[in-house]
């Protein structure tokens, strides 16, 4: 995790995305230039999903190994996922205000995302309510697994049953209407990868900070 190359990759990709996202041509649609928000808004949701997925994987690993490090990793990935989700929510609200006329539109995807955020906020409330470190880690890992499983229908199934104002509600989330447009993919996919690595980077810093904290409190004892 301490290698340099993927940080460089994240930087290069994000610089490219911010140049390309603003300068390259986009399809001329009803929402005018704001279609460019897709490059910056949707990768937040992808980032959130990936971070929660990794958090879930470490929660499973914690239950098998009971090592404190896996617990710390799981928490920090959930933390960064929550940050991505919040940014996705805020950017989405700004964009919705332009495209649909209201900040909060009750769109199924918006609601699903809000519930996803609530689930992980509840996860942190749960963690705060234990004093025993080992018990906290174990039970929050269980809740993490359960929460992630309950997110799957929320994010991937329910938005497809209800009619959504988001494009592509009957297929791949977020993207179908512009599928024809290969030029947008040229920026969109690098954006997803770039933000994902960015998330990894920030998380790794937070994990190292937490580990240092742990070590110090151990030596003090």
């Amino acid at each position: 995790m301490k290698k340099l190359w993927w940080k460089i990759l994240a930087i290069v990709l994000l610089v490219y995305v911010h140049i390309g996202g603003l300068l390259f041509a986009v399809p001329r649609l009803r929402i005018h230039e704001t279609i460019r928000s897709l490059y910056f808004h949707v990768p937040m949701w992808f980032g959130m999903t990936f971070m929660f997925l990794i958090s879930f994987v470490y929660a499973v690993r914690y239950l098998r190994t009971s090592s404190k490090e896996d617990d710390i990793r799981s928490v920090e990935f959930a933390n960064v996922g929550l940050a991505f989700g919040t940014l996705g929510m805020l950017t989405g609200m700004v964009w919705a205000h332009y495209a649909w006329g209201l900040f909060w539109h009750g769109d199924p995807k918006q609601v699903g995302a809000a519930i996803a955020l609530l689930v992980y906020l509840a996860y942190f409330v749960l963690r705060a309510s234990f004093e025993n470190q080992e018990q906290r880690a174990r039970l929050s890992a269980v809740y993490n697994i359960f929460a992630f499983a309950s997110l799957i229908p929320l994010i991937f199934i329910i938005p497809r049953l209800y009619s959504s104002m988001h494009p592509g509600d009957d297929g791949n989330p977020a993207f179908n209407a512009y599928d024809l447009d290969g030029r947008m993919r040229l920026v969109f996919y690098p954006a997803v990868i770039g933000w994902f690595f960015m998330g990894l980077w920030i998380t790794s810093l937070r994990i190292r900070y937490r580990n240092i904290n742990e070590k110090i409190s151990e030596t003090e004892l």
């Binding site: 509840a122 018990q135 174990r138 890992a141 809740y143 359960f146 309950s150 199934i157 049953l161």
Partner: protein, 219 residues
Amino acid sequence: MSVFELIRKDFLLELRRKSVIAGLGLYLFSLIFICYLTFNLRVNSINAMTWSALFWLVILFSVVNSVAKSFIGERKGVLIYYYTIASPQQIILSKIIYNSLLCLLISVSGYVLFSIFIVNPVQDHLVFFAALVLGSVGLSTSLSIISGIASKGNNSNVLMAVLSFPVVVSILLMTIRVTKNAVDGIERAASTDEILNLLAINCIAAALGYILFPYIWRS
């Protein structure tokens, strides 16, 4: 001790304490009565969506109150006793089955009360009861597990509400949709998707509960 015996024991305990059943019934009744009074439902008609949503909200509140007890209310001694006589898998299975039955009982009596006090607009009874069964099982499965987690923390009543809401939302949304279809009497093919989804969610929740409960139980 087998799962079956555990369920039987749960029932005996519950039935012996008449106040519990009576309290639950009264809770359900007052909820529905409040709905009736506040919405003025005899005068104003109510549409299918509102009826389904109201119905499931009432069920949800009563179920949260009854199922939450499954681990939170128990005294320490009882839990230790369970610990010695049965494996965690048996305990969670028995709790899930017991809670599902209880929840089914609540929802059926809720339905009866609804048809007395408000209206009984259900047209397709088979689909409606499928929703009732699947919804009850789903709610009680997830709530049993959440109750197991919440019972370990401080301030477990608040924790129960915070943890359970997001988890049951997807179950609730699906059942409300199926119920609405049943109320409207739409052709059955329209609800199969939701029913299958509900079934899948129930299976996942039950499987996760079965696998994860030993970790909750260990302390």
